[in-house]
């Protein structure tokens, strides 16, 4: 890459005036004309001329991975547009061949630009934000005191890696000896009683090596595979925790199981363009979800305007909140808003299933197909397990051929009542059937589902969901009779204690209609282009500290805290809950990487209390670009660059159907031509990649430094890593980060948009390949495992229910008497969790949020918009950093009365009420640092969730997939 001028002078946002330093000397004649008409005072657009430089990269204002096209004028970033070559940003229907259309060296006038959302465009403010950290910091007061001093990188890295009496100047810590990272990571001895009070709950092979007492937790990690290389391959620990449990891990987990797709390919949505009837459950499409702007366009343009069935397209939104998508559905005159009661999704979904089964409104011909050849013979890309036999006594596993006396250990189906191995069937098997073998009854998955659905009547379902009588039946009828129906979800139904089962139910509804993978159907994602970096590595071992993917095998009958054998993502919330207790083993060092659980985690006092506890965790450090709410509780802060100042890359999501790997590259800053060391706008800040590489080298870990990527491949810097990455795998033979390469100029590798469907035109094409495969309505792996808190088997079928605790009991109904309202959250299109209120371009769009309540509830409490209320939950506690905390668990909020929220619900939009990232005062070297009250405006609802009534120190969690109960928990609200 060409050296870029380094400039931090221009966009000085502290000077709020938009007046710029100097006009460019070269201006077209017409520019002169308008300039004379508007004058020179006040705000003025940049005179972007031919000398402007275009750098294409990938956004990270949210996780959608949209391509960006950045305009650099005189060394400053002046505009961010969508990258016209990235499928998130263009209309593929109006484009042909990317190669032919590429105008690689064209400036702004060379090509039209792609679309980009508000957040993406506001990245300029993020880059030049005055709230960014500019030097490494070490605390000089107690944790969370907000008192820091600036230190050198050398000191920070030495102290973190070597340990010692690091805080001897802090009162109370004079004699505290801290073990450094190097020593912790070098310790391969097994964790023993000195590290764990729960040795009797460990599996026979023990908890694992002591190096696992280093725990990493990231909020947003788009630096894979460098980051897992550091944590798993270099540090050798399985404790690479993510934020998925408080986000949408359950969604991905359940999609991967039921739809039988590999991890991270990623999720499933409707193929909007050809869908005719779409039900979106708890999915804030148009304002949230990934990729937000792309799905918005696919829905608003392709489905409703240009699609072949745009005239008959109907959109039904199931959500307690009248989301923008619901507003659009109603505005079209043919959509519907179904404001169900939070956390009653199971009743809605299984109610629909019941109606469809009772009325034979499903694709029986598809559901009867038991194997690949029968699927292929009928032109299909998949078949299901609906005809497979399952034991009716625990463990309720699929009947195996061996147990049926058929020899092999394969699935067994019935053909005209006779058991057969599934793969020997030519054509259809019995769908709704059962058989008795050796005194045990076996039923088909379909029959089990039917019986499950029959546990409640549709009238009962509607009562639970609190929606008008007849609505579920009517929607089930419309859904099952539509030309190309889809029911899709995002967080709503899955981010609950019954989330796994709700997700299973929803995907099963799609399966009933034979729409999976189909054009206009419910489509999962596909593989991104990927590179690779070789080199030596360690192998992680032992039980994960959050017990995800870990089966309970202790000596006691049940465990002290839950295990999550089926959670494919981590259960970080549970880690923080167990941290103070030292369960299952104690944490020695916590690294907070681009992460803010202290603000974003539901029931966040569990995080703040654990992180300030010196005994629970002796050493903490954070890699962050801001003084975030979690970062401010740590011992050291290593400042990170912004996403516009780093290397990397990212994929995309469905409904994009072409293959992608967008390249992240610095749009500004300097790259040393010899050392390949990169610096962004702040000279004493380096990329997190470089920080991790240096930590690894200091600790003597494999896979970095001299020959880190294999013989002759040094990995001393981020650039070297990514340069190597982009020369392997799908990039084999390409020149890496060569500034003249197509990769660098296009800002990624993009497949031509022409081919969207397979040869038959009926199914999506799945770039990267996908075999004809089975789908699993039944979760036998779930049914094979036990809840470690009860010793009872999990249920392999979707089930009716409301909110359950860690022992799968519904929360005490008596609680609603004292706490009658239900908590609920939503989100605006210009916000993410933690990256947007500290961006004043975005924060100023809606300067504060309100707690939104229905007029019926407002009337009961005598409230009007603007009134203040106090709110508490059965578990809320005072959090000292939060200004709206009144103590004793009460929090102050201002209400807005609106019919956009159903009665009985207290809905607060996320992202507001910050006390970190510049939202509150803090000091370094005795001097106050930048903060702005506008960043901290509004209210956060995270202190107000209800804790698990058994564990009491963390929120309710889905016992299977580990997702948090993010909606519907009880609240008490009083006027003040």
């Amino acid at each position: 890459m060409k050296l870029l001028e380094n400039s931090i002078t221009r966009r000085d946002f502290l000077k709020v005036s938009g007046s710029v330093a100097a006009l460019s000397q070269i201006q077209p004649a017409s520019a002169q004309e308008w300039l004379a008409q508007v004058g020179k005072a006040g705000s003025r657009p940049d005179m972007v001329g031919q000398e402007a430089k275009i750098v294409r990269s990938v956004c990270l204002m949210c996780h959608s991975g949209c391509g960006i096209q950045c305009t650099i004028q005189n060394g400053e970033l002046v505009k961010i547009d969508g990258n016209p070559y990235h499928p998130n940003c263009y209309d593929y229907v109006s484009k042909g061949d990317i190669v032919e259309e590429s105008d690689l060296d064209g400036g702004l006038n060379g090509k039209d630009v792609g679309t980009l959302c508000a957040k993406g465009q506001a990245g300029i403010y993020t880059l030049y934000s005055p709230a960014r950290l500019k030097h490494p910091l070490k605390r000089v007061g107690p944790r969370g005191s907000g008192k820091w001093k600036t230190i050198s990188w050398e000191q920070a890295m030495t102290e973190i890696t070597e340990g010692g009496m690091l805080f001897k100047d802090v009162p109370g810590e004079e004699n505290r000896m801290i073990e450094g990272l190097k020593s912790v990571l070098a310790n391969d001895k097994p964790i023993g009683p000195e590290d764990s009070d729960y040795m009797d709950e460990a599996p026979p092979e023990g908890w694992g090596p002591k190096r696992n007492q280093f725990v990493w937790a990231h909020g947003r990690n788009e630096q894979s595979p460098l980051t897992p290389r550091f944590v798993k391959d270099a540090c050798g620990t399985p404790n690479m925790l993510n934020h998925c449990d408080r986000c949408a891990g359950t969604f991905y987990n359940v999609v991967e199981h039921v739809m039988n797709v590999p991890p991270y390919e990623i999720g499933a949505y409707a193929d909007y363009e050809y869908t005719t009837f779409l039900i979106s459950v708890g999915s804030n499409i148009t304002h949230a979800d990934y990729p937000g702007q792309t799905r918005a366009r696919y829905l608003q343009k392709f489905a409703k305007r240009t699609g072949p069935d745009a005239k008959i397209f109907k959109h039904v939104i199931v959500d307690p909140w009248l989301s923008p998508a619901a507003a659009k559905a109603l505005q079209s005159g043919k959509g519907e808003w179904i404001p169900l009661k939070p956390s009653t999704d199971a009743y809605f979904l299984l109610g629909m299933l019941r109606w469809m089964i009772d009325n034979k409104a499903y694709k029986a011909d598809f559901l009867s197909l038991p194997n690949e050849q029968s699927a292929k013979k009928t032109g299909r890309r998949n078949w299901s397990d609906m005809t497979y036999l399952v034991r009716t006594v625990e463990p309720k596993l699929y009947l195996s051929g061996k147990d049926a006396g058929l020899g092999q250990a394969d699935y067994v189906v019935l053909v005209k009542g006779k058991p057969m191995l599934f793969h020997e069937v030519d054509g259809a098997a019995d769908l709704d059937a059962e058989v008795e073998l050796n005194g045990v009854k076996y039923k088909t998955v379909f029959r089990m589902l039917r019986e499950r659905a029959h546990e409640k009547t549709i009238a009962e379902c509607e009562k639970f969901c609190d929606i008008p009588a007849g609505t579920i039946s009517r929607l089930a009828k419309e859904f099952s009779s539509a030309k190309r129906p889809v029911i899709e979800m995002f967080r709503g139904p899955v981010q609950q204690s019954l989330g796994w089962w709700n997700g299973q139910a929803l995907i099963t509804l799609n399966m009933m209609m034979d729409n999976i993978d189909r054009k206009g159907g419910y489509i999962p994602g596909h593989k991104a282009y990927s590179g690779s970096v070789g080199g030596p590595k360690r192998t992680p071992a032992g039980v994960t500290i959050d017990r995800h993917k870990a089966k309970y095998q202790g000596k006691k009958a049940t465990s002290t805290r839950p295990f999550y054998p089926l959670a494919s993502r981590t259960v970080t919330t549970e880690f923080f809950g167990g941290m103070k207790q030292g369960y299952p083993y104690r944490t020695k060092i916590y690294l907070n990487y681009y992460n803010d659980p202290a603000y974003t985690q539901p029931l966040n006092w569990t995080v703040t209390e654990a992180l300030v506890d010196l005994k629970a965790v002796p050493l903490t450090f954070s890699i962050d670009a801001y003084m975030g709410e979690t970062t401010m509780l740590c011992d050291y802060v290593l400042p990170d660059t912004d996403y516009l100042e780093r290397f990397g890359g990212f994929k995309t999501y469905p409904p994009v159907k072409t293959q992608v790997q967008a390249l992240r590259q610095p749009v500004i800053g300097t790259l040393d031509p010899k050392t390949k060391s990169y610096r962004g706008v702040h000279p004493d800040v380096q990329t997190a990649d470089d920080t991790l590489i240096q930590l690894a080298i200091r600790c003597g870990l494999p896979g970095f430094g001299k020959d880190g990527g294999g013989p002759g491949k040094d990995l001393f810097t981020s650039w070297q890593f990514w340069n190597e990455f982009y020369q392997n795998g799908d990039f084999k033979g390409e020149p890496g980060l060569d500034p003249d390469s197509r990769l660098v100029k296009l800002g990624g590798k993009y497949e031509n948009p022409g081919k969207q469907y397979d040869a038959s035109g009926e199914y999506t094409r799945f770039p990267g390949g996908r075999q004809v495969r089975g789908l699993y309505a039944y979760a036998a792996n779930v049914a094979a495992n036990k809840n470690s808190m009860t010793g009872k088997y999990y249920d392999g079928l979707p089930k009716y229910g409301f909110i359950v605790d860690c022992k799968e009991n519904e929360i005490d109904p008596a609680i609603w008497k004292e706490y009658p309202l239900q908590l609920h959250t939503h989100k605006d299109a210009w916000h993410t969790q933690t990256r947007t209120m500290n961006n004043l371009w975005l924060a100023s769009i809606k300067p504060q949020n309100f707690a939104e309540i229905n007029p019926a509830d407002a009337q009961k409490m005598g409230l009007v918009t603007g009134d203040w209320v106090k709110v508490k939950s059965p578990s809320s506690k005072h959090i000292p950093y939060v200004d709206t905390s009144m103590g004793d668990g009460w929090y102050k909020m201002q209400v807005r009365v609106t019919s956009r929220i159903r009665p009985g619900v207290f809905s607060v939009s996320n992202s507001y009420g910050r006390w970190g990232a510049g939202g509150k005062a803090w000091a370094a070297d005795g001097k106050p640092q930048y903060f702005d009250k506008r960043i901290g405006a509004g209210f956060s609802v995270n202190p107000l969730y209800m804790a698990d009534p058994i564990l009491k120190d963390r929120i309710l969690i889905d016992p299977v997939a580990g997702g948090t109960q993010s909606y519907g928990t009880p609240l008490r609200v009083e006027k003040i």
Binding site: Q37, R297, T306, Q331
Partner: protein, 206 residues
């Protein structure tokens, strides 16, 4: 499938208009499909370098109806209305300006504030029914949407139009836009505030 251009063809921005007599260049916003995401708001901000708190384009949300009883079908609605300057046929701001800083360009109907002449008295803000003129507190001048005249004069579309993820904003000459709206069988509406008849040129369909 009928091709539906996300933006008007480039030719529509005809640079020879000066010879053809008065024209009105303006925006059409398809409100049925606008999702209120504010991408236009930030595109405008980045393009025009406005300070925090000064936005030439805002999106207002209009809530209608009432919903209190969950046992009944909700009768509610929300409309998102992006509000740039309306580039009125009879600009109230121009009439109110005591120093003649506001002009309506003859060749394309774009209303511009000359900030060098502006004395920051804010009469235009009082006069405008749409809240278009914004006070830049530091420079102490009024400023507003210029329909990205610095871009359209070069044949580029306004920043808010190119970025719109839902593709609901269109730029062009008023008559050309009306033809397009008719083709789409969309019913055009103007937003009229408080009975003022300033002949707003920005068109909406709902």
């Amino acid at each position: 499938m009928a091709e539906y251009n996300p933006v008007l063809p480039r030719e529509v921005v005809d640079r020879s208009f000066a010879k053809q007599g008065p024209k009105q260049y303006t925006l059409w916003v398809d409100l049925e499909h606008c999702i209120g995401c504010n991408a236009c708001t930030v595109a405008c901000k980045a393009e025009n370098n406005t300070p925090v708190g000064v936005d030439y384009n805002k999106v207002i949300e209009i809530e209608e109806g009432d919903f209190r009883d969950a046992s009944k079908t909700p009768n509610v609605g929300v409309t998102f209305v992006p509000m740039p300057c309306m580039h009125c046929g009879r600009p109230a701001c121009q009439a109110a300006c005591p120093v003649g800083a506001i002009t309506k360009r003859k060749e394309d109907g774009i209303v511009l504030i000359n900030k060098d002449k502006c004395i920051g008295c804010r009469y235009c803000a009082w006069a405008c029914p749409y809240g278009a003129p914004q006070f830049n507190a530091e420079a102490k001048v009024m400023e507003k949407c210029t329909l990205c005249v610095h871009r359209t004069d070069k044949g580029l579309l306004p920043a808010c139009v190119t970025t719109c993820p839902a593709k609901v904003r269109f730029f062009g000459e008023l008559n050309e836009l009306s033809t397009l709206m008719k083709e789409r069988r969309a019913l055009s509406v103007s937003i009229s505030v408080g009975g003022a008849d300033t002949k707003p040129s920005v068109k909406y369909t709902k």
